[in-house]
Amino acid sequence: MSQRFRLPAGGHVDRSRRLAFTFDGRRFEGHEGDTLAAALLANGVRLVGRSFKYHRPRGIFSAGVEEPNALVELRDGTRREPNTRATVVELFDGLAATSQNHRGSLAFDWMAVNGVLAPWIGAGFYYKTFMWPAAFWERVYEPMIRKAAGLGRASGQPDPDWYEAAHAHCDVLVVGAGAAGLAAARAAGATGARVILAEQDFLFGGDLLNEPELEPWRGEAIAALQAMPEVTLLPRTTVFGFYDQGVLGAVERVADHLPQPPTHTPRQRYWTIRAKEVVLATGAHERLIAFPGNDRPGVMLAGAARTYARRFGVKAGETAVLFATHDAAYDAAFALAEAGTRIAAIIDPRADSAAMQRARQAGFTVQAGSVVTGTVGGNALRGVETGVAGSGGRANAVAADLLLVSGGWNPAVHLASMSGAALAWDEALLAFVPAAAVQRERSAGACRGVHGIGAAAADGAAAGRAAAIAAGFAPAADVLPPDTPAPDHRPYELWEVKGRGKAFVDIQDDVTADDIRLAHREGFSHIEHAKRYTTHAMGTDQGKTGGLVGAAVLAEARREPVAKVGLPRFRPYTSPVTWGAIAGGEVGQHFQPVRRTALHGVHEALGAVWMDAGLWKRPAYYANPGDADAWASVLREARAVRERVGVCDVSTLGKIVVEGPDAATFLDRVYANTFSTLQVGRARYGLMLREDGLVFDDGTTTRLAPDRFFVTTTTAQAGPVMQHLEFHHASAWPDLDVSLASVTDQWAAMSIAGPKARDVVAAVVQGIDLSNAAFPFMAVADCMAAGVPARVFRISFSGELAYEVAVPAGYAATVWQAVMTAGVPHGIEPYGVEALGLLRIEKGHVAGAEINGQTTAQDLGLGRMLKKKGDFIGRTLAQRPGLTDPARPRLVGLRSVDPARQIRAGSHLLVDGRSQGWITSVTQSVVDPGWIGLGMLREGEARIGSSIIAANPLMGEEVPVKVVSPHGYDAENLRVRA
């Protein structure tokens, strides 16, 4: 079977290029320029899918994005794309498509039994049943419904292709490249404006592609646009949404017309377009008519059949009946007759019209005042039943394999509506058109009800020109529209032909006119309620062909005009968009960037096992060959610090220089403790509260000069602290002369901790006396280290004698190496974040697990730090009764009574079987082997010495723990001051 419905000539397909493809495993051929739907029709394939609920046979209904029926699974394996509209898929060699939503074969789908059950499974039936017994919903009813519902199958595999984002700015964006859009782009481009023309089709022209005699005008328009340097042409690009302030989203199908994307080419590109002015030239979608059997394969929109004949050179049927309510639809009959299709009858509810007369003159049988009352056939149309309009009676049957339907046209107002424009009822066109624009946007052509190529082009040219002028450009020469007659698109008001059998208003979702009436009967009379109750217009086609018909059926039931019933609100997307495209490149490993310290390579060479800390990668620990497991590594590292010396990369801490005459005043206000009294060359531990009085962050701050401080933050809060400082400076104290500079990346820092730390640091730094007297705890000095400028801080997180050496980041590896070399005689070990955590838990220092946004300074045992005098952020609200309540949980130390029994962070602390707190941090101890932790416990201090239960019911654990002081290790701080 080789394309027996292909016409010998005409259209925009290249008959010399044969493309092989398969549908349900059968092999076919089409041509370059075909859509899958065109190629299927050329090969006489009429049945392409099954409907959502009743599993009725369905064919190809349209020739564009509005397609409700011809949804296929395109490609296979990891590239399978369910629910792909055959009417927009560009044919390529080797294309494979499969029909979907049937059990058994496409032709014999045993789920079609649902059609017989229709009286009981109409709109909303499931709300009224499946309630007994209650447990049956999840076990029986729902799995059954779920399996039956849905359309295509996802591959379930990762997508092998990639996508990219792109950003564009323009003076005028023109959406749609039909006659109106081409003229608009040309008129705007001629002014010198930066213009983007986006068209979802792979060819520019829209309805021009159906008019061979206008081919010169189309060709010239495209050539002119291509010659304009400031015009960007984006074919295969769907503008899916109109957002605030002239921003529109679009997806360009870069490689969907190829078997697979070439190297260095994304499959699709997601555009964010910022336009000063927008011209919407999105055309119109032809409207179905609801009549019994209006969904049978072989029933097709009239304009679609015309497109298949004219653009694709394909006869959609041998014998056709046209059922139309307006003159413009007659063009389809003429086009098909020209293509060799026999026009068996034209059924028109009107008494007379100019087109009718022309049709009669051409020899067609025109049945004026009549309607289609039903269709005959199984998986394909065999005949059409007609009757007298308004009588409901059945007059006669006409044999036909194609029924062309046109109930008028729905302007594609989706983008205008999303931009904020209201919709206005056009009584002549029986359709909604955009009312006044809210954003800088104008509609042109059929999307605002201006039909006919010449008229649309003139409208587009005027809109494009006006848009360019509004964007600040001087007017240029006019674009001449083609001189064509404007067919009359004003329909006779006929939405539904009532009769026996299902008359669909939403073909995809199997919503019938009766369903709409049932919804009304049950009180779901508002369009939004009716839509939700029946699922009308909620399918992949979003009701483009039938949405208004459903509204009209509802209007009739409500005895109100359609204009009053209205349409549900339009929301993105105009057409479905690929998930991967919107995601762009920031997926998988690139979901967020990886931030590396200057010592990253050093850690890698040392065998670091990484952990994530925000964007940072930090060494969790260093796996030595001799370590039995991760804990062995961590304990080894921590033991080195307690007993000898260790070195740890602490570059990730946030660092902010606060400088200016008011720097000290500023810090006094943002910290809960005082900094104005700090001496130059000294550091102090600081505590920041939020305005609500809870602890925000902590760190050490150094006074480098009277007007210059060096603030450190925790790794996690570096960004938020900077914003917090900037905000309060800008909003609360703009009078303070102070500047803030983040120097986190400028400085790499390493902490050298342990009893031998002084010896190691002394061997590395020059120009500084490290003796306890000259350089006591909390002293800071600039110096040289390993020949580079450095700054040494005598501060400790581990509870040992410790120094932090900070150097400009480019020298970090050099200085680290010098430290390691100097440490060899002392048995130095690098230690990671896990050992750091172990050490601080032993010492009782709080960190992110305790400063979690839910704790106060008092809760953490830091209440004495709050200064008594002077304003600071959080001071007033920290005094609220709920925050000073002595019953609040307080920081305690915890120790597993049986040293071998593990305790866990996240366990709750039970006293008499009731939760009185929880464990925040846990580690094994090197000082006193066994499991220890920190926790928050009600009446914490009073309970020191008692044994309680650490309960972790999630893991079935109840571990007796002893409550101890959190500061059990070297409580007098002798070691840090040694």
Binding site: R79, E81, Y126, L151, A154, D159, T540, I582, F591
Partner: protein, 417 residues
């Protein structure tokens, strides 16, 4: 009115479905009621239902500015769960979940409550510890919770990539009794059941003023005239600030927007609700086959019900990072709802400074799952003029007292919860 049942569906089907009556009457307002509930969304309708069914107060009007169920009931991602950390919250939501579990039978309406399981993934030790603390809090309060390792996550949802992402999955906190429900049906079901008990549901009736005399509520002024009542309950989501301003006081609420999305219909692919822990993303699959998904707030106040691209980009990117198989699927529709955010992320069901005026408000983005519980507690508070113990902590005054209910410690920033 005859109830709904499989038998009735059968017999009506044989009669051409002509015997169905409106699910609720189109009532016209009377001059006075015992209680006026302002707001015909899920919470308001539930309040009326429980006033009638639990407290025997059926002389109740529900006043709705537009259509019932057209606020957040009509625009949410349908998730039902009670996996909270703080006992004040998890006990409340557990009560709500238990009401959900019998809701079909109480309402005689199938709201398709589907207990398919809700998993919150975690990706770091810190997140795991927070999940353990929360899950243990649930368990100690008698609520089901399980901790999953990566293999357990894979078993529940095989298409999650636990190994290869920027932030590999370390496990998840699972509540098996959590799940989804058919959102619109919840409003319709409560309306149907409240109406059946005599409640007047009055649509297209906007409240334009609050009648307050001597510090007490006396009724409301509406576009359909004045209606008196000694007790008025507010359940109006994004209009709370407007109505409390009419009553003469401000509330700790900032109204933000939250986007949600639905994909094209698919055969079953995801059989539970999953939340990504390394970005803002969650997903479930509806009975109709569409994936329903969303992420975090857009980040600024809005009543516009229109979302923005950067947030959508994050949602899609996070989704693919968690489930790479989503890449070739297509999003069908996006929308945005209004969220009354509070400074601690928890809600209000409470009395107000005006005597006889009560409110359920500030639901952030947790309002849907709260629907029955909110209605139940609000009804109790109205009927008894005092809060039930389940909502005793959820007052407007808690910020004056410093007794915040901040689940995640995100602080006094409306947009941070």
């Amino acid at each position: 009115m005859a109830g709904y049942s499989g038998f009735r569906v059968l017999t009506e089907g044989l009669r051409g479905n002509t015997g169905w009556k409106p699910a609720w009457r189109k009532a016209t307002p009377k001059p006075a009621y015992d209680v006026i509930v302002v707001g015909g969304g899920g919470h308001g309708l539930a309040t009326a239902f429980y006033l009638a069914s639990v407290h025997g107060i059926a002389n109740v009007a529900v006043l709705e500015r537009g259509l019932i169920g057209q606020g957040n009931t009509g625009r949410n991602t349908t998730i039902v769960r009670s996996n909270y950390l703080l006992p004040e919250n998890n006990n409340f939501y557990e009560h709500s979940l238990k009401l959900w579990e019998g809701l079909e039978q109480s309402l005689n309406y199938n709201v398709m409550m589907s207990q398919r399981g809700v998993i919150n993934l975690f990706h770091s030790d810190a997140q795991k510890h927070a999940a353990l603390r929360r899950g243990n809090s649930m368990r100690l309060n008698g609520i089901d919770a399980e901790i999953l390792d990566p293999a357990g996550v894979k078993a529940m949802c095989p298409i999650i990539d636990v190994d290869n992402g920027r932030y590999p999955v370390l496990g998840g906190l699972l509540q098996r009794r959590g799940g989804t429900a058919r959102h619109d049906a919840v409003a319709w079901g409560f309306a149907h059941a409240a109406d059946a008990r005599g409640v007047d549901i009055i649509e297209q009736c906007e409240v334009t003023g609050m009648i307050v005399e001597g510090g007490a509520i006396r009724g409301v002024r509406t576009t359909r005239g004045e209606i008196r009542a000694p007790k008025v309950g507010l359940a109006v989501a994004g209009s709370t600030s407007t109505l409390t301003a009419m009553a003469g006081f401000d509330v700790p609420i900032e109204t933000h927007l939250l986007q949600a999305f639905v994909s094209e219909g698919l055969k079953p692919l995801i059989d539970c609700v999953v939340t990504f822990g390394a970005g803002h993303f969650y997903v479930s699959q509806s009975d109709k086959g569409g994936l329903v998904y969303g992420g975090g707030l857009d980040g600024y106040p809005s009543y516009g019900q229109r979302g923005t691209l950067p947030t959508a980009e994050h949602v899609y990117a996070a989704g693919i990072s968690m489930i790479p198989a989503l890449g070739r699927l297509r999003g069908l529709r996006s929308w945005a709802g209004v969220m009354d955010m509070t400074p601690d992320g928890s809600h209000y069901i409470c009395k107000t400074p005006v005597h006889g005026l009560y409110m359920t408000a500030g639901w952030c983005y947790g309002g849907f799952k709260a629907t029955p519980g909110s209605g139940w507690c609000h009804a109790w508070t109205i009927a008894k003029d005092e809060p039930h113990r389940l909502n005793a902590a959820h007052t407007l005054d808690r910020f004056r007292e410093g007794r915040m209910l901040d689940e995640r410690g995100n602080g006094p920033y409306f947009w941070a919860h």
